[in-house]
């Protein structure tokens, strides 16, 4: 590790109603990978957005390479050599990669307002070559996978000759192979003396990549520690402010053998290839696989949200023709999207109203008016049954935390009398503390006889929760494992068959996972 690059002291920042940062501290040295962790809303992203010039601080000071600096805009940050890669991808899909990388700094021709496209492409090619990225600068950004777009964002950040590179949850959408490629590039940069801030929720990644860890909670900096000297349990307890134990994987008891859902030879283009499986009553069936393996596509197809080319679905042994989500709900199937805010909830509506959205007819009076009393009773029931933390049923759902929002969605599907629940990434974006509550809830539901399909990219979650595990890769089911015999390695073997985009053939500093 080198000299101190960035020193942030006593940083304060308030938004209407929220004290986002409360005397936060942060130190970054040259040539280190510094992981910043904390629960949702702990202030990690806010602190880094202050450093990147996106938010202005209310109080405190920032020292950069020994001098106090004021960073008023993203552009000012870039000039200093501070770049941030955001959680949401920030590319312009209609522009080419080259146009994206050099947006705002396009090489011009003799006349100032004219672009020099040739030079633009050449510069980008050189940049990609230096990162050993196999990408054509003239491709449109929209045509790339999320992982490749991420690499382009890193390339863009590097093109500023950044000394400080901030990555906000860079691996959220990446596969294991792609994460390894990302880490490879991060290590290269570190060795060149770049200071890297890495915001993440994935605790298991830290030890692979980081030199130091700073933990934040409630807008405050709790501590900065050497990665080598701490355990994950210690980090978690610093994050949540109490000690919670990640329970050892417990395999729930064997479900009864009655098959409630059977899918035969489901096909759709290249997204779903000949998928067949069954789901038993009271069973949690884990769907493992990498991002883009086709798990969500299968779920949406069963739910009638997307059409299929061919295939049959049987419910309780009888052939079912589900052509729309409406049909699916009538047949007792509920789908809980990974993107709750977009597909699962009416954010502006209150808790009670959201619960009855999927079964509105049951809450109408003879005249077609809404029976407010019934809505109230139903809401009350599920708020208690699922222990949803909300001041009242009148609270708007957008003001709830991620975990409680997820519970409202679950309440909605239970209200609709669904027997088959498809959970797509049920704990994405949910705090460590709230996760175990969701797990317990899933177990309870299964024990009550509901059948659950759980799609998850987090292997520990899959291993801990599932009775059986189906693994998908590139639209196919490549393996099925019983809970007892499944291991992370076993699942990954079935799940990885994809080639990489970074050329790792030259001697790398350290590469853990080989290319599949």
């Amino acid at each position: 590790m080198g000299d101190v690059l960035v020193l942030m002291e006593g940083i304060d920042k308030s938004f209407p109603g929220v004290h986002a940062l409360d005397h936060a501290q942060f130190e970054l040295r040259a040539g280190e990978v510094h992981v910043l962790v904390g629960e949702n809303g702990a202030g990690k992203s806010t602190l880094m957005k202050v450093l990147a010039g996106i938010y202005s601080k209310d109080a405190g000071r920032i020292m950069y390479q020994g001098n106090e600096v004021e960073i008023h805009s993203p552009r000012a940050a870039q000039h200093l050599g501070i770049s941030m890669i955001h959680q949401e991808l920030n590319l312009m899909p209609h522009l080419t990669l080259a146009q994206n990388v050099f947006i705002g700094r396009e090489p011009r021709q003799g006349v100032r307002f004219m672009l020099d496209e040739k030079k633009l492409n050449a510069q980008t090619q050189a940049l990609f070559d230096s990162m050993r990225l196999k990408l054509d600068p003239r491709t449109k950004a929209a045509d790339l996978t999320v992982a490749k777009q991420q690499m382009v964002e890193i390339a863009k950040a590097l093109s500023f000759n950044s000394q400080v590179l901030i990555m906000d949850e860079p691996t959220a959408a990446l596969t294991e192979t792609e994460i390894e490629e990302l880490f490879h590039i991060i290590r290269q940069l570190r060795d060149k003396g770049v200071g890297i801030v890495y915001i993440s929720h994935r605790l298991e990644e830290f030890q692979h990549i980081s030199d130091r860890i700073t933990v934040m909670r409630d807008g405050r900096t709790i501590d900065t520690v050497q990665t080598k000297e701490v355990t994950i349990d210690r980090i978690i307890s610093m994050m949540v402010g109490r000690t919670i134990f990640e329970q050892a994987p417990e395999v729930p008891e064997h479900p009864s053998a009655e098959i409630v859902l059977e899918v035969k030879n489901l096909n759709r283009g290249s997204a779903i290839k000949d998928v067949s499986f069954n789901l038993k009553k009271g069973e949690i069936l884990g769907f493992a696989g990498l991002m883009g393996a086709g798990r969500t596509e299968v779920a949406r197809a069963i739910f009638g949200a997307d059409h299929v080319d061919s295939g049959e679905v049987y419910l309780g042994g009888k052939r079912a023709h589900i052509k729309s989500p409406e049909d699916a709900v009538k047949s007792g199937i509920g789908y809980l999207s990974e993107d709750r805010k977009r597909y699962g909830l009416a954010l502006g509506m209150n808790v009670g109203a959201n619960m009855v959205l999927a079964s509105f007819k049951k809450f109408l009076t003879g005249l077609g008016l809404v029976n407010a009393g019934k809505v109230q009773t139903n809401g009350q029931h599920y708020v208690e049954a699922l222990s949803i933390k909300t001041p009242s049923l009148q609270q708007r759902v957008k003001n709830l935390s991620g975990g409680n929002q997820q519970k409202v969605v679950i309440g909605k599907w239970l209200t609709a009398d669904t027997n088959i629940l498809i959970f797509d990434e049920p704990t994405r974006g949910i705090d460590v503390g709230a996760k175990s509550e969701i797990y317990r809830l899933l177990n309870d539901l299964a024990q009550q006889g509901k059948s659950i399909i759980m799609i998850s990219s987090e292997l520990p979650e899959i291993l801990r929760m599932s009775h059986r595990i189906v693994v998908m890769c590139e639209g196919r089911i490549t393996g099925e494992l019983a809970a007892g015999e499944a291991t992370q390695e076993g699942i990954m073997k079935f799940a990885t068959q994809r080639g990489g985009i970074v050329d790792l053939s030259e001697p790398a500093t350290d590469s853990g996972v080989g290319q599949g």
């Binding site: 993203p74 920030n90 312009m92 209609h94 522009l95 947006i103 700094r105 396009e106 672009l115 496209e117």
Partner: protein, 333 residues
């Protein structure tokens, strides 16, 4: 080897990529309309009638060029029609009332349009009023100002007969006798070339697409989005100003009550030409084809003695059809 593969992939991509297919589709539509009308009416496919169509496209086409830039940002401009009229009135005031030379009048018209566009841009980018509302307001303001300034009566260019020649004369006709295509048509093509150059080769065009593609990302990349957006609306205003100068010349007068409804034809041309209302993509060639489709339809239906009321119904249906085809095609991809 790899290079060849990339090139063929590139060609394939550009052929089947949305912009190109939509343009092909629109162009094929134009041809079909031409063929149908030619069969239906012997009067349709004549030199004079085609010149008539070209001339009828000129003003709407120029308006549509400006609107293209604005719709690519994901915005909309409802004020182009009445701003066009205001520009025509200002040109009339300068040339007829104040006796200024014609070039000064033309510049005054262009500047009027630019100013109105600049106001639109500032209201949208700085005051953060949604484009629909901001330009709706500007539409009414420009209409009102046109009536106030002109005293609610037309301003004629009878003292300056040369002004009418600006669009209705034919430089080509004097060079090649018998080939009397009016200047207005060449002004349209010239304006289209300039627009295509701006969109494809300049910084303004690049940021136009970038803003429409992902405004927040563009802002975070250090681009001053507010300023560029303002510039784009001002550019749209310049095209409205040019349309005003042209229509005043064509009618030999500035008609202050004219203009409302022109914005709809212009937006329709842009949309038929494949520019996405959600922003990020669009082409000048598409817009020009779209403008030709609208004027060819109007012309053909008139020749077939379809009443004007029904012409509107058909044009409306075509707009919906064009966008529907685009939706279907996108869904397939």
């Amino acid at each position: 080897m790899a290079a060849i593969e990339t090139t063929t992939a590139g060609v394939k991509r550009s052929l089947f990529h949305s912009d190109a297919t939509q343009k092909l589709l629109a162009f094929a539509g134009l041809i079909v309309i031409f063929v149908v009308f030619s069969i239906a009416s012997p009067n349709f496919f004549s030199f004079e009638n085609i010149v008539g169509i070209l001339l009828a496209t000129a003003v709407n086409g120029v308006l549509a060029l400006g609107v293209t830039f604005i719709i690519i940002t994901g915005g909309i401009d409802l004020s182009v029609g009445t701003v066009m009229t205001l520009s025509a009135v200002m040109t009339g005031v300068f040339v007829t009332y104040w006796g200024m030379p014609i070039p000064v009048g033309v510049v005054a018209g262009l500047l009027t349009g630019a100013t109105a566009g600049l106001c639109n841009g500032l209201i949208i980018a700085r005051m953060r009023v949604p484009p629909f509302i901001a330009t709706l307001g500007m539409m009414m303001i420009a209409r009102g100002l046109s009536l106030v300034i002109s005293g609610v009566k037309p301003i004629y260019f009878n003292d300056t007969p040369i002004y009418r020649q600006l669009t209705m004369g034919s430089v080509v006709g004097t060079v090649i006798p018998g080939f009397a295509i009016p200047n207005a048509v060449f002004i349209l093509f010239g304006a289209a070339l300039v627009a295509a150059f701006i969109l494809g080769k300049t910084v303004l065009g690049r940021y136009d697409i970038a803003i429409g593609s992902n405004e927040e990302a563009t802002r975070l990349s250090g681009v001053n989005v507010a300023n560029w957006k303002t510039a784009i609306y001002a550019l749209g205003g310049v095209f409205s100003g040019l349309a005003g100068v042209m229509i005043a010349s064509r009618l030999n007068s500035a008609q202050p009550a004219l203009g409302a409804g022109y914005e709809l034809d212009a937006i329709a041309a842009v949309v038929i030409g494949g520019t996405s209302l959600s922003g990020g993509e669009g082409t000048i060639l598409g817009t020009i084809i779209g403008a030709f489709i609208i004027s060819t339809l109007t012309n053909g239906l008139r020749i077939m003695s379809v009443p004007q009321e029904w012409q509107m119904v058909v044009t409306g249906a075509i707009v919906i059809l064009a966008v529907y085809l685009d939706v279907v095609r996108r869904k397939r991809q």
